[in-house]
Symmetry: C2
DNA sequence: TCAAAAGTGTTCGCTATACACCCATGT
DNA sequence: ACATGGGTGTATAGCGAACACTTTTGA
C-alpha cells in the first residue's frame, strides 16, 4: 500500500522549514506552495511506535516537475484512484483534500499549478479537477474576471487544433504579499 | 504577561486526549467542546528550549464553571483586553479566535456556551460577542429559524425586567452525530 | 406611565445559476 | 466542410442587508 511522503523533523529546525526540506530531499521540488493542515497524534496510528505527524499539502505542477528520484519509490497518483493507504494516510489525504477544496474557493492558490501563461480553459479544467465537478463556462469566466486575479497579456494559445484562446497571467499586483505561494 | 494553558503530552497518550486531560487537570473542566487549530513549531518560539505546540480551543460557559484552582494562576480574561502575551501566545490566540469565528458561521458550536434553555437574545448576544459586531435582530431570528438549529420549548423567560422572550433549546435531532460537541 | 426588550415583513441589491448561438482555427 | 473549443449576455431565483412599529412585562 502507498503512503504519503514524510520524515522526521530535526531538533533545531522550524516545523514549516522541515516540511520544505523533506519535500525537497525526497522529490527535488523547491519553492512551492505548502500549507499546514492538521496534526495527527493517536498513539496507535503507527505500528512501529509513537509518531506524531503534522500534515501539509503542496501544489505542484506535475508537468513542470519530474520526480527525479525513482529509487525512493515516489510516484504520482490521481487521488480519485487511491482506495487504500498505509497507516492513517488515507484519513490524512481526505482531510488535506478537503482543506484544499475549501481553500481554492476563496484564495488564488491554484496558480501554483499553472504555467506563467495559461488559458481560461486550463484554469477551469484545474478547478474542475480539484473540485471534482463540472462548471459552466460563461459563469466561470464572469466570476474570475470579477476577482481581478487575472491579467490579459494579449497573447493567444499556439498549436491548438481549434480556435486559440487568450492567455492570461496571475495578477501579482493584486496580491503583493506571498500568502498565495506564487513567487 | 499572561500565557495560555498548556502542558506536555505523554508518550502513551493520544494528542486529542492530552488536550482534554490538560484542560481538566488545570481547570477541573470536563466534557467540553475542544477543537484542534494549528501546530506551532518554530525553533525559537520558547526561550527554554524546543517546544512544539498544538493549539486547541474550547468553548466553556464561564458562568457554569468556576475555576476552582486559584493557586495555578488561571484567570478568565476578555480577549478584547489582551494586548500582550508571553512567547508566541498572542499569535496562537489570534489564530484560534479566527478559527472560532469562521466555525460559528456554519456550525452550531455556540450552544456549548449556553444553558439548556436560552432566549434568542442570549443567542444573539453570544454571536455578537464572538464576532465583535452588531447584528440586526430581525435578520438574525429569520436566519436562525431557517437553520432549524432551534426547538421552541414553549416557555418564557422568568424574572426579566421587561417583556419575557420565548425559550429555545438546541435541536439535537438535527445533529445526531457529536461533531458539534454538545452532549 | 414609562422603560426595556420581544416580536414581526417588506424591499432592494447582489450573487449564483441556467442556458444557446456565432466565431476562429486546424484538419 | 467539419470538428473543436473560444467567446459572449440575459433572465431568474435565492440570500443578505437595511429598516420601524406594536406588544408585553416589571418597576
Amino acid at each position: 500500500m502507498w503512503s504519503l511522503l514524510g520524515d522526521m523533523i530535526r531538533p533545531d529546525e522550524d516545523l514549516d522549514k522541515a516540511s520544505y526540506r523533506i519535500l525537497k530531499e525526497r522529490t527535488g521540488l523547491d519553492d512551492v506552495f505548502l500549507e499546514q493542515v492538521h496534526t495527527f497524534g493517536n498513539v496507535k496510528r503507527h505500528p512501529g511506535g509513537r509518531v506524531i505527524t503534522t500534515a501539509y499539502y503542496s501544489l505542484i505542477n506535475i508537468n513542470d516537475h519530474q520526480l527525479n528520484f525513482p529509487d525512493n519509490e515516489l510516484h504520482w497518483h490521481p487521488v480519485s484512484e487511491i482506495t487504500e493507504m498505509a497507516f492513517d494516510h488515507k484519513d490524512i489525504l481526505e482531510i488535506c483534500l478537503n482543506q484544499l477544496r475549501n481553500k481554492v474557493e476563496e484564495h488564488p492558490v491554484v496558480f501554483n499549478l499553472l504555467p506563467k501563461k495559461f488559458s481560461l480553459r486550463e484554469l477551469q479544467s484545474l478547478y474542475e479537477s480539484i473540485l471534482e465537478t463540472k462548471l459552466d463556462r460563461r459563469n466561470f469566466r464572469k466570476k474570475f474576471f470579477l476577482t481581478e486575479w487575472l491579467v490579459d497579456i494579449n497573447e493567444l494559445e499556439q498549436d491548438v487544433p481549434h480556435r486559440p484562446g487568450k492567455l492570461y497571467k496571475f495578477n501579482h499586483a493584486k496580491f503583493p504579499h506571498k500568502s498565495h505561494g506564487i513567487s
